[in-house]
Subunit: 315 residues, 4 copies
């Protein structure tokens, strides 16, 4: 089907909707505040966004990407850490209101599908998206099919264990990749050094007006771009962990490409180059096997919306 | 197609062939020595095995499982560490000789398919086989499809990195799961303790006639079955690493079941129970997600042959 | 000098004073509340305790053990995390009031000296005390001399790094022994398992009346003594980390004996036996070097008081 | 005593003797081949070297530094990995032949004493020498006294465990510092990268005439000095491990200074600067405690000879 689809990205603070054509172009986009604590209000807001976009476009299907666990039938949100949804059959709620077919998908999976179909992975069949933001997440596409897992909870790539007995993670386990390679890890490392009075952290601290608590991820990236060695090293450390994680994933999954998205990927080569180096240094059987491509994702924060729209069209 | 298929398992020392029916039963089996160093001789031996089995059964397809990298078209063996094959188009060589359709598959993938179709994983759609022998290998089935990877080299599960800066692996990387959870690791640990004169190792050493070099895996398993605490602990340590590795794989892949096969799995619950405990202890987000099943594989060393036969029938 | 000495142990909640003879016997003991937040009041309380003990005993010297960094001249407390002292010259304050010679010492050092002189280490010259309580601390005696370090801050044994990129420690570093082998680690592990609903933790949780937050160290020890496998395993895990740490310390320091004290050592062999096993399993050059002795400390919580008293007598 | 002393350094390939005055100056030096496999011949060679040096200098004592375990009485070599000595009472053998007082000492201890007395550590009381050559060794001086340990085998600093379940070490344990921070580790890493065809290793490989097996430590240092980024990174990696190890040692031992000697220390700041950075980054309680000094050792390969001579004078 080549009609227009509406993609909805439901986050903890904002709901974004977009009209997406069959080539992944966003023809129009509308963003509203997310009433995260009120199930009914979220549904009202989604309905409203779709109806307003529909006024000027012939939308035929709706895809909703949600930050949470979605069941295998792609209709029910089982659990969403930052939203009020608990076992909400979103498809059943929205379809009668909209009189349109609705598909629900985990947001990282939707983003992976978007990048696979229209973005960084458009030229391969086996693809892995790593999103590096507050946490580390991702999505997997194998032989052109989105991999959702037996229980719909696959691709929690940030919870690959990379250090036995390592840093305690919010998930209750120790040593998860997310504890070493996320934006939160970046900020924790930067602030930790600044708090310890490490001389290399001085420039970054000055940039934060001397307030350790004001150091954040974009500040580190900005400093690194201007050549601050300390900031460059912080990003390289993150990249190293990513690359080492990718080497493990390559051994198990053998994708043709890994794209790195999420807010921290704005650092570009400051993150990607060290990731590539670490990948090559730690790849098992290196030299006796083809080497996958590592690149930055290309759709930015619209990947989820575009992917959700396209998935609704596939159904 | 429900006709009979011939499965061939080509190892470094033996070639086993079996006539397999559509329910995975091995009607007849023939095992010959493997002329591993001579490409032509291996092909002759395979041909001979098929022809002899064919004399009494109506074989319609042939599946060959080989320990090596197989290309995505399932015809060419790219590289086989223990055999003379380097870029050998086995399908093209065998089909004219046999006048039968031939499919070539990596042996661990074939075994995974066998267990998935007729063995431990017959009741699930998303399945992971872990084979614990000299090394650690495995195969992946996602939504009923064997996962081969972009370059045909997926499922090298033994090369998931579990210890940063860990034990050097034969693959050139450090800290691979195989270095901690394989039969080789089991024997290395047992001999190491015996060599250091550790009192708990005394019973095992006596069992080996006092010769450290004679301690092997089956001996450890036998001792553990008879209650030797040292042997029990050695197997539990292996199980622990397996379980921790499975927890990481569950986060990324979300299979419904993991079956443990290979020679070391003869230890049964002495290996599986500690694996399950470690899996539960280290599973990310435990309590907020369904928990997969861990069980012993059921087809023993015929899994590869049965799987290869069935894959030839699918084509 | 074989006269009587007064030992004072200043903690965050209590001040204990004891009259100690030249054979390390505590002839009389007095314990009062510690006014931890008020420097002058602590000094008043110490003075009062000494004067009251002096009424009935001929005290000739006073040794004060304090939980904090003490300078090399053994008079000034540089920093005490749980007390108001910051650069307080305690010797100068107390001597005029008491008209007695005063020596100030770090409390863990004092305890090590006590155990070395009258307790578990009385038969050796090179001794290491490991105290396993809320944290992990200790003291070192080399060739009969208490080792205080260049800056007076030696023997922070709990901050030996045992896991690179490991658990974040209160000291700001990652992977410190204390994060794996202390009573706090024991309780964290116990509660974590209980919170995750782990079946083996059920008995322990029942013991805590179903309230996870009520699980504490003595409860784990009590459960282990009664055979609760889960509690036994928790203590064994702590013991394993201790033993592995001791193996590293043996390589560097080569003591004749390591005694394990502190509250968690009440678990006795449930802690010591696994520590010994792990020590032997991980000792470098095992078999080519003598093996030190690992035993439980014998003076209990009076070790610090006895040691401080004796140190004042040495001066 | 301020007379002249003779220092002897007995290695696996050479025996070096020197006449050393009371200010640590080497007045004359003689080096001969070491007949390592023949106990009697080594003793003959030592005797010969002393007698020849004595011809022109008034030698009053002899100190022998030997690569092996030496008993606490400083007379008997218990075990020497590269020499024929097994329980040889060297003092008893040499004194009658030379008619001079002889002291025997472990060579790394002797070097530590040399650096402490006349070299990098001459201004401090608490000193640690780290020697980074084929392996990692060292010596400890606490409050001006050489620390030999209860069994004479202290200061095996290379066998501090830095990675649990890490690289197997020649000592039988896993994860020893020596496996990450020695010249052998440097060469292994360099060759490993070259063997894997890593592009950054190309310049170094060219320097070795394309033969991977010819890459050695001095070559890496030379390349790094000329700015080869790959070689610089290899040395920095070694320095990082050293610095992290020093942070652990600082927590336990609190020395005022750590000097880095041994062949790899020829790399100077290329090794020392990264070590210092890693030390500061991982020091426990950083900011709340004084920070030790890390510098390069100053006596080069004469440290052992000078230290042995001086120790003989002390006796």
């Amino acid at each position: 089907m080549t009609g227009l689809a509406c993609g909805i990205d439901v986050g903890g603070t904002k709901i974004a909707g977009g009209v997406v054509d069959h080539e992944g172009r966003v023809l129009e986009k509308l963003t509203v505040q997310s009433p995260a604590a009120d199930v009914g209000a979220i549904e009202d807001a989604i309905t409203d966004v779709v109806q307003r976009l529909r006024a000027s476009h012939d939308i035929q299907t709706v895809g909703v990407g949600a930050a949470g666990y979605v069941d295998r039938t792609r209709s029910t949100v089982l659990f969403a850490p930052n939203l009020a949804w608990r076992d909400v059959d979103l498809k059943a709620e929205l379809e009668p209101r909209l009189d349109l077919p609705v598909v629900v998908e985990n947001d990282a999976n939707a983003a992976a599908w978007g990048e696979f179909t229209f973005g960084a992975g458009a030229h391969v069949d086996d693809f892995l998206l790593l999103t590096v933001g507050t946490g580390v997440g991702g999505g997997l596409v194998f032989d052109g099919v989105l991999h959702r897992g037996a229980f719909g909870v696959a691709a929690e790539i940030g919870h690959l264990r990379v250090v036995p007995d390592g840093q305690l993670c919010g998930c209750g386990a120790h040593g998860c990749l997310e504890q070493y390679a996320s934006g939160s890890a970046l900020v924790r490392n930067a602030r930790g050094e600044a708090a310890a009075g490490a001389p290399p952290a001085r420039l970054l601290l000055a940039r934060a007006g001397g307030e350790i608590g004001k150091i954040d991820g974009p500040m580190v990236t900005a400093a690194a771009r201007e050549g601050d060695k300390f900031a460059v090293d912080l990003l390289a450390e993150l990249g190293r962990w990513l690359g080492e994680g990718i080497a493990s994933l390559a051994a198990v999954l053998d994708p043709a490409m890994v794209a790195v998205g999420g807010g921290v990927s704005d650092a570009g080569d400051l993150l990607i180059v060290p990731a590539r180096e670490a990948f090559l240094r730690t790849l098992p059987a290196r030299g006796n096997r083809p080497e996958l491509e590592i690149a930055r994702a290309t759709l930015g924060n619209e990947a989820g919306l575009i992917g959700a729209a396209d998935l609704s069209r596939q159904d």
